[in-house]
Subunit: 208 residues, 2 copies
DNA sequence: TGTACATCAGTGAACGCGCGTTCACTGATGTAC
DNA sequence: TGTACATCAGTGAACGCGCGTTCACTGATGTAC
């Protein structure tokens, strides 16, 4: 994996984003003070404001960073599954298996999804944030939908099926699973939900 | 439906809670100022503080109110399904159908779930809030699990199945569906997800 | 190779405003005798 | 039936602190000539 070399300024900015993401996913954007973030990232107030125009500018940067990162992770897992398996259905099932394992291997609980976090915050009322969220979610759906099309072609489902809704369900399960995990304060709910989805997809497509 | 008659004080308190719930689900707890709530509920600052010790006291009240209300709604729908249909599987499927219709009939989008909202807010760090969330989620799981047990008894599933995870999936789908709905700013995602789950459950249990 | 200037990546102190909370006080309704 | 007292359901003004933002200033690194 090629690690990009960062300039001094870029490194500081990245350090701020990293600290901010962690705290924001824990407590929410409004409840996170800039001073907390500065402390955690070891920059002064003015150091921070050199990199971000204001708090909302940080909000945008965090969301974009999150969506990009998540999409990249997903693509990597899909590529790995494809490298192992030729059949679209079984590659998809392998992806879900690997995905659940990644969720299970996290040292602590899943830290949360930035899109989901903003959905329950007033950040969502800013036009730019709303558009970035919407686009992120649509990108994810598209990734799954392509796969499902290939599957449905080789394994015609018994009944006609809403493939967009099924593609979305992958996102739904992750977002909902994270909440289950956080809400019940019990690790493991998320990977179990992903595996459950895997079983259901398998039953749906695999020939009896 | 018996509507309880409220005393003057109870009515004011209820008015405050209603306004607070709406705003908190829109913008998040930390981003919601008490003054906003007071304005919306038409009480003065001191009127508010007569009913709630502090902001955190309001947070607890909102969560409890939400969990109770949601549980009651769910029970009512289950009862209606049972009144119509004797078979546990088909009653369950009818429940999911009615549930998706309720979600679809909402004038606007689903306002959101208070448990999920707090999960992404620092409220979750207060012990009492965490316990109330956990108990709410477990109550919901138990309701679904009972139904699934009855179904699995009459319709033995082909493969052994994680019934707790399947029970949880009902919650996951709703929580995740709400985020999909909010995140994509597109009404209808939530009911579609519920119907998709219904199809999957049907395929899983219904004899070929 | 040295000098002048510009840009990068910050520092430290001050400001002002919103927001949660407190406090002393009050009119209306209930209750005891 | 009237009086005294208590409780309910508030009012209005003041306080103080945290937090986002601004501003004048600065040392180190790059770039032109």
């Amino acid at each position: 994996m090629a690690v990009k070399v960062l300039s001094k300024g870029e490194a500081t900015r990245e350090r701020i984003c990293g600290a901010a993401e962690r705290i924001v996913l824990e407590k929410g954007f409004a409840a996170t003070s800039l001073e907390e973030i500065m402390d955690a990232a070891n920059v002064t107030k003015s150091g921070f404001f050199y990199h971000f125009r204001d708090k909302h500018d940080l909000a945008k940067a965090l969301l974009q960073r999150y969506v990009d990162h998540d999409t990249r992770i997903m693509d990597e897992l899909f590529e790995r599954a494809d490298a192992l398996i030729d059949d679209p259905l079984h590659s998809y099932l392998a992806f879900l298996k690997m995905f659940s394992e990644v969720m299970d291997d996290l040292p602590d609980r899943h830290p949360g999804c930035m899109v989901a976090s903003y959905c329950y915050q007033d950040q969502i009322y800013h036009r730019e944030i709303r558009e970035m969220s919407a686009e992120g979610v649509l990108t994810w759906r598209r990734r799954f939908r392509e796969r499902l099309d290939a599957i449905a072609k080789r394994y015609p489902p018994r009944a006609p099926i809403d493939l967009d809704a099924l593609a979305d369900m992958n996102i739904t399960i992750v977002e909902g699973g994270i909440i289950l995990d956080k809400g019940r304060a019990e690790k493991g709910a998320l990977p179990r939900q992903v595996l459950m989805l895997r079983d259901l997809v398998k039953t749906l497509f695999a020939p009896a």
